[in-house]
Amino acid sequence: MVWVVIAAYNEEANIAKVVSSLLSFGYKNVIVVDDGSRDNTFKEAENSGAIVLIHSINRGQGAALQTGVEHALEQGADIIVTFDADGQHRIEDIKAVVAPIKEGSADVVFGSRFLGHSKVPLLRRLLLFGSIFVVWVFYRVRMTDAHNGFRAFSRKAAIGLNILSDRMGHASEIVDWVKKNNLRFVEVPVVVKYSHSRKGHGSYAQALKVLFDMLWRKLFQ
């Protein structure tokens, strides 16, 4: 059984649409972790039919995903897909993302917008190439897209997942974790839709913070 985990922070505008399309595509098990939103994310998600967990205060995307993954495991999930709350991922792509796990050829699957046909804005492209480079330098893992929220985990892999970077640093932490545990991973092309309404993702200050977190973990943990 496939479970979809969504971390949502102030996503009242998009969450209902994302959840109901997931359900209409036949993904019946959708967990939304409302990460201390100040808007109606919780109500919107619950009314559209998702299982909603609430972080009473905002702890960041990494923390919310870990909460959702743990809950999915407790509910008996075989495959866990993480999906963004803002509607930037296509539900049609889930099939391809979970396929390698269903076939038993991978433990973890990363969606890659650069293998697919996404129109990535130039500045974002540069930032993402930076992150790909850093992931390669730090972890010796060659990826085409290191910071995509679209991923799938086998149950076996997810049990070992323990995201400690509460905030955006979790993306590279997951890569590190895959490498350290010798998990089989594969990248699958996905399309990321960019809309102008996306807020606050991947600013340069955030990128610096992520870099610092990575350095910190590398040195002291």
Binding site: L53, R59, A63, Q66, T67, E70, H71, E74, D166, F220
Partner: protein
């Protein structure tokens, strides 16, 4: 002749020392931490009153001006304290996340 800066330094050290003592009395810091701060502030007082002695130490470890040893020592100490604070802060963040997660799942 005692300079103003020496008086200020001594007064500040006495003040900081009294804070450390009160924290220890209220059991907010451990005996070890209190001793660490006591030694730090007592050294500051002694060196403020007898700055000529800083030269003995600084010359021995290769620093020209006696007073510089204060600056170097101070910066090193600050770095160390910030580092410790960061470690503690990270631990606290992770503990907080654990609590929030526990509450989220217990519905």
């Amino acid at each position: 002749m005692i300079k103003v800066v020496q008086i200020v330094a001594v007064l500040f050290a006495l003040f900081a020392f009294s804070r450390a003592f009160l924290r220890w009395k209220d059991k907010e810091v451990s005996l070890g931490e209190f001793l660490f701060w006591s030694v730090t502030w007592i050294i500051l007082i002694l060196l403020s009153l007898f700055p000529e002695y800083t030269f003995l130490l600084s010359a021995r470890i290769g620093i020209q001006r006696g007073v510089d040893i204060f600056v170097y020592g101070g910066i090193t100490l600050l770095f160390y304290l910030v580092f410790r604070m960061y470690v503690r802060f990270e631990k606290m963040e992770q503990a907080l996340t654990k609590v929030v997660r526990g509450l989220a799942k217990r519905k």
